[in-house]
Amino acid sequence: MTEINLLRETTSQTAGPYVHIGLALAAAGNPTREQEIWNQLAKPEAPGEHITVIGRVFDGNGHLVRDSFLEIWQANHEGVYDEDYNLDKPFNGFGRTATTFDAGSEWTIETVKPGVVKAADGRPQAPHINVALFARGINIQLATRIYFDDEAEANAADPVLNLIEQPERRQTLIATREEQAGKVVYRFDIRIQGENETVFFDF
């Protein structure tokens, strides 16, 4: 209408219940290829604080979404986004994961805690992981961010968290730290709809 000579974007459609056969082959029960993009972003030798992030996804009725698929994008431990995806390297900022089909249904990633990156206006952003959520019933991906509960000071000053009008809604983006058998685990549940609905972004 007002857009001059601009092509229209191809429209989105749901990734559907069988997204795994295309993007998460092992989860579908199928053989994998020589290289797959999956949930180990950091190998043991990668520099930085090694963390596991585990989460669940809930629908508006409080039921687990067992067929969700997530894409992860984050800076390295120094706050640098390295765009060169290369499985020969110890760390890649991109990964994928999916909730399991079992009763507990969780997704997991193995990574390092990201460093501080700059916002559009140059201010620092608190450490965060960018998440895109896809699933049957989701017509276009839902974008959110994972922040860390042991970064209270940085979170309080974060320019994106501060754009969320209601402070209590900011809490839906804060992962909680636990230690399990000497490993650092952050838990981050996503609630697509209803009580404590996760904040989703448009950008």
């Binding site: 974007e9 459609q13 749901t14 559009a120 019933g137 609905e197």
Partner: protein
């Protein structure tokens, strides 16, 4: 490629894309946010993204006639699916990852949760991937997927379709969509297609029969061009 920090992209038109809540597609009812999306300025977190040029691809990753071959060819109509990935300014997107997955000719997915009556094809996996070339072109060889019934309304059938995932230059350009085939009478009946309101928008998902690209006496070709969000000029206040 420009510095990721300085890239800016045309905003996604959310009246063009399907809404989150589209009740005729029943699963969306419980899987759509009730709160409004929070608008945030594009920062490097959104304007950067993975470059998969160094992902090692198998020889037949884009050839579904051969990549699950157990000694015979898969059953079904042999087709070529090809096209270009461009941005909204018509600029080709080179070396970007295009991934696709689909049901077999009978409408059955090789997925442990798919229990449709139609049999698996021992020679068909249903997954492909390719990097676009320097001019944004990609191509796959496959068989035409079959339509299949699904649990929505009692008599809903999915039109034949191929799922596509395209990365683009940044995570904000990421797109998952479905390719439909020109002339398929099931397209206008499908609640997932109809999640897209504008008939012109539906046209962006329909592959055209492309007789010029056929392999004569071998396979038909369909052309499916993909448009991702445009990367625009950046204006800065401070230098």
């Amino acid at each position: 490629m420009s510095d990721a920090q300085d890239r800016r992209f045309v905003m996604r038109d959310r009246t063009w894309h399907p809404k989150a809540l589209t009740p005729d597609y029943k699963t969306s009812v419980g899987r759509s946010p009730r709160q409004a999306l929070v608008s945030i300025p594009q920062s490097i977190s959104e304007t950067s993204g993975p470059d998969f040029s160094h992902l090692k691809m198998g020889q037949h990753d884009n050839d579904l006639l051969l990549n699950f071959n157990t000694g015979a060819l898969p059953i079904g109509e042999r087709i070529i699916v090809h096209g270009r990935v461009v941005d909204q300014f018509g600029k080709p997107i080179p070396h970007t990852l295009v991934e696709m997955w689909q049901a077999n000719a009978g409408g059955r997915y090789r997925h442990k949760n798919d229990r449709y009556l139609a049999p698996l094809d021992p020679n068909f996996g249903g997954v492909g991937r390719a990097l676009t070339d320097s001019e944004g072109r990609y191509h796959f060889r496959t068989i035409k997927p079959g339509p299949y019934p699904w649990r929505n309304n009692p008599n809903d059938w999915r039109p034949a379709h191929i799922h596509f995932s395209i990365s683009g230059p940044a995570i904000c350009t990421k797109l998952i969509t479905q390719l439909y085939f020109e002339g398929d009478p099931l397209i206008p009946h499908c609640p997932i297609v109809k999640a897209v309101n504008d008939p012109e928008a539906v046209q962006t998902m329909i592959a055209r029969l492309d007789l010029t690209a056929n392999n004569p006496m071998d396979c038909l070709a369909y052309r499916f061009d993909i448009v991702l969000r445009g990367q625009r000029k950046t204006w800065f206040e401070n230098v």
